[in-house]
């Protein structure tokens, strides 16, 4: 069976993992922008990450016959930092016409702070402005329900958004109806 892994953070995976993906029939991966496990200090650092996602990672994947596509964003884990978020959002547009970029993502919330909501809203508006697909991360564990509710509420404010161009990810039993 051939398949697409639509949510894989490949920059933190080894080349052996690409080999295993290929052996199991994976023909393509889509990689949402992620948190590095620690907070980056400036927009330039994230811009290097975007170059990794759009230049280096597709080449690495191709060595194993896997197509690599990516989403660009400031990840919810860093979205509370408004200064960093503004720097990153200013850098995203110049990457959007690269051939393997799918859209804006993964955006959303982590602990659901006012700053996170502001950054999420700006990223939604960026996607609308540039007619991009949107990939939304919903928070973990006890924060998932609240984060999903607020994410959907923000989307509802924008009549320009076509729901068919938005993917809300990490649904669980108690949030799936809200998303659908």
């Amino acid at each position: 069976m051939r398949y697409i892994d639509h949510h894989a953070h490949m920059v933190s995976r080894t080349t052996d993992d690409y080999q295993q993906l290929a052996l199991t029939g994976c023909v393509a991966v889509t990689e949402p922008a992620f948190w590095a496990g620690w907070d980056r200090s400036c927009g330039d650092s994230v811009e290097d990450y975007f170059r990794q996602l759009t230049e280096f990672e597709p080449r690495r994947a191709a060595q194993y016959g896997v197509q690599h596509y990516t989403w660009l964003a400031i990840n919810p884990k860093e979205a509370d930092d408004r200064s960093l978020s503004r720097e990153v959002l200013a850098r995203i547009p110049k990457f959007l016409d690269r051939p393997t970029v799918l859209g804006i993502g993964e955006i959303g919330m982590n602990r659901i702070t006012r700053n996170e909501i502001a950054t999420y809203t700006e990223q939604v508006e960026l996607a609308i402005e540039h007619r991009q697909l949107i990939l939304i991360h919903t928070p973990h564990l006890e924060d998932k329900l609240k984060g999903t509710r607020i994410s959907v509420d923000v989307l509802r404010r924008y009549r320009e958004i076509d729901p068919r161009r938005v993917l809300i990810d990490h649904a669980e039993e108690h949030t799936i109806e809200l998303i659908l």
């Binding site: 602990r111 006012r114 700053n115 564990l141 006890e142 609240k146 509710r149 669980e172 039993e173 108690h174």
Partner: protein, 104 residues
């Protein structure tokens, strides 16, 4: 003759045959976890907000129907007010219903 429930390809006995052993193991793991906590700090087992919800969730297992969704809701933050500032990066697994956010 017993028939399958809509959307379930297995009969009742087939579900039990397939999944009883792994869930028996999970049940024993929960029992061992609770026993360990009782041995080391029975007070924590009573007072820790996560364990309070855990007990409610175990109780919820006893009522048939929609158990998974009810337990997910028990564990979730039911509020809609955003945090004024980031308190930590990670979730804890259960909402503290005695917290300032819950009371506000």
């Amino acid at each position: 003759m017993k028939t399958q429930a809509p959307g379930c390809p297995l009969t009742g006995p087939q579900v039990v045959d397939e999944y009883f052993i792994e869930n028996r193991t999970r049940l024993l793991e929960i029992a061992a976890f609770l026993d360990r906590l009782d041995r080391v700090d029975a007070d924590c087992a009573v007072k820790d907000f996560r364990m309070q919800v855990f007990r409610d969730a175990v109780d919820a297992l006893g009522t048939p129907g929609d158990r998974l969704n009810r337990i997910q809701i028990l564990l979730s933050d039911p509020t809609i007010e955003p945090l004024d500032r980031l308190d930590r990066k990670s979730a804890l697994g259960a909402f503290d219903r005695g917290s300032k956010e819950a009371r506000s």
